[in-house]
């Protein structure tokens, strides 16, 4: 017995084939190459992030030139603090060596950001200063060397 195939079936089959191949062609061009390499996302996005520029060079880059400051800093309580905590992003300065490309904060308020009196700080975590009482007419760096805070300047 010959199987009867209604005439619309081949026509529909052709239509389906056309649409499916169209979909596959479109998909081929629309889905990025790296999609699905690690998971359901574009793996090249990781490279986009990895390519971003670094602004903070890390203190090893600082010590490459400023060996003297490294030695000085080692001797006192600020030894664990990295250069860029106070001096700001240093990559530009590391590449250009221009003094204009690095911060040199000098005001009381800057030191106060860490050293201001606040009940939220652990007593032994940091020396806390009452900025409204402690030598109010002077800048901190007039007496303290920030790289060696307890060697008082005369």
């Amino acid at each position: 017995m010959k199987l009867y195939i209604p005439p619309q079936i081949p026509r529909l089959a052709i239509a389906f084939a056309v649409f499916i191949s169209l979909f596959l062609v479109l998909r081929h061009f629309l889905v990025p190459d790296t999609f699905g390499k690690y998971g359901p996302y574009r793996a090249a996005a990781l490279d986009d992030y990895a390519k971003l520029e670094v602004h903070y060079s890390g203190q090893q880059a600082c010590f490459a030139c400023h060996q003297d400051i490294e030695d000085l800093k080692k001797t006192d309580v600020h030894s664990e603090i990295h250069c860029e905590t106070c001096h700001g992003p240093g990559q530009k300065h590391a590449l250009s060596s221009l003094p204009a490309d690095i911060l040199k904060p000098t005001d009381r308020e800057f030191c106060g950001k860490c050293h201001i009196l606040n009940a939220a700080k652990q007593k032994d975590a940091i020396n806390q200063i009452d900025l409204t009482k402690h030598n109010i007419d002077k800048n901190c760096i007039e007496c303290h060397n920030p790289h060696q805070p307890w060697e008082m300047k005369k």
Partner: protein
């Protein structure tokens, strides 16, 4: 005639029953097998990708050590070109003050970038502490799950990232993050968040916030490396994650976390 008819009937029933059972068993086995494979794949992927050669990053913050200087929040903005206006933060610091009457005062002026000025007088304070906040880089992050276009993903190193070319800026993830760690970039109009300084990690540099933290209150490390400083810290201290009840798989562990912290 009647006998043969009944035999035929019996055979028919038997054969179709056998066939049915066979088909059903095959289908069930296939479904169970497939779903098992698939679900375990998803679980493995969500919990920890298989590539063990890569680190699996976690973060620890020691609340006892934080002095609220805001260096982290400031450095984050400089390093990652985050808009300078308040309300756009990838990391920020909050001050919690529990008063003697039990009420809690929470402040974060400009994310702590300009430092904190104590606004509750000493005699009213029961306890006070700083809480630095940042992306928890959840292993099962809600923000990743709700993204309708798959722009947010968990990198093989366990860092939650946004594909800025895919993001359509629908803000669903901003709503979904229980830690409030996302915002819409006012210029790019796409979701923006902490990348754990992915570009720095790839260059073997510490994330900017950890580079500048003067007290070492923040640390990051490889949770897979059982000898890493981070794992050692987690072993030695009683740490908690925020909103553990939400099962986000948060990988930011706080030491000395008070119950007041939300």
């Amino acid at each position: 005639m009647s006998q043969s008819a009944s035999t035929m009937g019996n055979e028919k029933v038997t054969s179709s029953r056998r066939k049915f059972l066979k088909t059903a068993a095959t289908l069930t086995a296939a479904t169970v097998g497939y779903s098992w494979l698939k679900s375990s794949q998803i679980l493995i992927f969500a919990a920890e990708p298989k590539d063990v050669t890569l680190p699996w990053y976690g973060i620890a913050i020691d609340i006892k050590k934080c002095i609220g200087c805001g260096s982290c929040a400031k450095a984050c903005k400089s390093e990652n070109d985050v808009p300078k206006e308040p309300f756009f933060f990838r990391t920020w610091v909050e001050q919690y003050t529990v008063k003697n009457d039990g009420s809690v005062d929470i402040v974060s002026p400009n994310g702590g970038i300009d430092g904190f000025v104590q606004r509750v007088p000493d005699e009213e304070i029961f306890k006070s502490f700083f809480v630095p906040k940042m992306c928890n880089h959840c292993a099962k992050s809600p923000c990743e799950q709700v993204c309708p276009v798959g722009a947010t993903f968990l990198s093989p190193e366990g860092v939650v990232l946004v594909d800025e070319k895919y993001c359509i800026g629908c803000r669903y993830c901003v709503q979904a993050c229980p830690y409030g760690c996302r915002f819409i970039h006012p210029v790019k109009k796409v979701a923006n968040k902490c990348t754990l300084c992915y570009h720095r990690l790839k260059k073997n540099l510490a994330p900017a916030c950890m580079e500048v933290c003067p007290t070492g209150a923040r640390m990051y490390g490889n949770l897979r490396d059982k000898n890493s400083d981070l794992v050692k810290f987690l072993k030695e201290h009683t740490t908690h994650v925020l909103r553990a009840n939400l099962n986000t798989g948060a990988k930011l562990y706080y030491n000395e976390l008070s119950s007041e912290v939300r």
